[in-house]
């Protein structure tokens, strides 16, 4: 692998090359040696390639970060370990269902937000799946006889359906369904962005608002195509198709570099319970200060490795690491060292002053030689 890597300019260029080759081969197979190419979708196809290259570059640089690398290394190690494979599978499956499919945690942040995000997320994923499937020629529809359609996936004929049956309708209206989901979700999101003053504190126009309005543009122009050919007799259809194509191209090129890239990154959450929670929600490692349970060994090991990889020296004088203490003990350690009472200095004594009035607070006991007359002891002070 490293030999192959050396023949490329960088890791990301190597992976991009591999991804492009795979995509090209899948097109070659899917379209039957390019005999079923849909040339109407040529613009979409080019931007799809840019999308995949951008995504590869973005994800490669993300995975190369020490923290991400460490977590992925841990996930692979966990998955390989034989004795807990059943538990791992269960943990991943449950988190995927809860966090990714149903997005329960967002519903806990607010039902409105949950519905909004779920609609946008699955609207997006559905639309992207259909777009990629059609533009790269992974699937197309063939007329078997005058009233029967057949779906061809990767050049393999699959299910047949009546041309006016409900299944065919579902396929033909697929993008309209996902676009309607998106439209509702986006309207909810925009209303939230306008009404919620708390959001305005940290929201940025180019990061939070641009993708929202871009998605809205894609959705509206796409839905208007349907309106045009269904209700308006194809009014302005070629022009509208071009406008829609432009918005989609901008969307696909932007996607890997903005807020929306959390779509491929967020599923890493599925590995968290497997990596770090032997039983979900139960800590097993005890703090070396107070003895409270606060985490588990694997996570602390990973945190230390990540910090070490980035030259963070969080070792105490006693030789233990700050990560060995629970957060409450760490706060106390910080306060005590700032107040001149490092670990082992004993209990805080009243603050002692020259006038003999002892103030409550954080003082340290004076050493006995402080009270020695000045001439009897050391002169260097």
């Amino acid at each position: 692998m490293s030999q192959l890597e050396k023949s490329f300019y960088s890791k990301s260029s190597m992976y991009s090359f591999i991804v492009v080759v795979i995509l090209f081969m899948s097109m070659w197979i899917g379209t039957g040696q390019f005999s079923h190419m849909d040339w109407m979708l040529f613009g979409y196809m080019v931007s799809t390639f840019i999308f995949f290259i951008g995504m590869t570059v973005r994800l490669t640089s993300w995975i190369m970060r020490p923290a991400t690398h460490e977590v992925i290394k841990r996930s692979i190690q966990k998955m390989k370990s034989k004795n807990s494979q059943k538990r791992n599978g269960k943990a991943i499956f449950k988190t995927l269902i809860d966090n990714i499919l149903l997005q329960k945690y967002i519903f806990k942040r607010g039902v409105y937000r949950g519905i909004q995000h779920w609609l946008i997320a699955w609207g997006c994923i559905g639309s992207l799946a259909i777009t990629f499937g059609l533009t790269l020629g992974w699937m197309h529809f063939k007329l078997v006889d005058s009233s029967t359609y057949q779906m061809v996936v990767f050049n393999i004929p699959t299910i047949q359906m009546a041309a006016d049956g409900w299944l065919a309708q579902m396929f033909f209206e697929g993008l309209n369904i996902t676009a309607s989901m998106l439209l509702i979700g986006l309207a909810m999101a925009i209303i939230r962005r306008i009404r919620d003053k708390d959001l305005k504190v940290t929201q940025r126009a180019e990061f939070d608002l641009f993708p929202l309005y871009l998605l809205l543009a894609v959705t509206l122009t796409g839905l208007f195509l349907t309106v045009s050919y269904k209700l308006l007799g194809g009014w302005m259809h070629p022009q509208l198709a071009l406008i829609h194509q432009i918005t989609v191209v901008v969307f696909l090129v932007y996607f890997p570099f903005g807020k929306l890239v959390h779509l491929p990154m967020r599923p890493m959450a599925a590995s968290v319970p497997m990596n770090y929670q032997e039983t979900p929600g139960v800590d097993t490692r005890d703090c070396s200060g107070c003895g409270e349970l606060y985490s588990n060994d694997e996570q602390i090991e990973d945190v230390k490795a990540i910090l070490g990889a980035q030259a963070f020296d969080l070792k105490n004088d006693e030789g233990d690491w700050l990560a060995d203490y629970c957060p409450a003990c760490r706060r106390k350690l910080r306060v005590m060292s700032q107040l001149n009472l490092p670990k082992g200095a004993g209990k805080a004594a009243p603050v002692q002053t020259n006038n003999g009035i002892h103030m409550p607070g954080f003082g340290r006991k004076r050493s006995e030689d402080f009270y020695q007359p000045a001439h009897s002891g050391k002169e260097e002070l």
Partner: protein, 180 residues
Amino acid sequence: MRKVMYLEFERCIGCRACQAACRECGGHDAKERNYVEYVDFFENRQTYPMLCMQCKDPACARVCPANAIQITEEGVVLSAMEEKCIGCRNCTFGCPFGIPKFDFEENKMYKCDMCYDRTQHEIAPMCASVCPSDAIRFIDHDEMMDLRRRRTQMNLIEGKKPSENNKWDYVPEFFGVYSD
């Protein structure tokens, strides 16, 4: 931002007004992000307030596998971005000061953001604006330097001098209990 947060732990009287104020801050979702804790409950009732240090190179952001913790141009370390945070809690274990909190229900990390909506306009954060004993202050950098210098002068009252190999004995232990 020319202003800085200035903490004096020994001034804390344990009223927890800062925590109540923190809950009221916009975007904090009625959950406090700062701490007021006892130094040693069995010894005395002395408490200390604890906020985020807003590190220049934050360990929490460095250990985040999702790259979710962002730093504003003013240098404020924000809570994890909600869309990126994968809920692994690495930040709570990476932070050397034990600051980030974790919401298991909503599966996200939240931490002191110095009330970014206020401090970016140089308005004191909620905790500093309500602290009755000035344990938490939001002051000019020059004023802070002045206060530090005065703290060092207080050593003379206490009769402490730095010794060889132990300059820390000279660092003041208290400030402001006396008027000048």
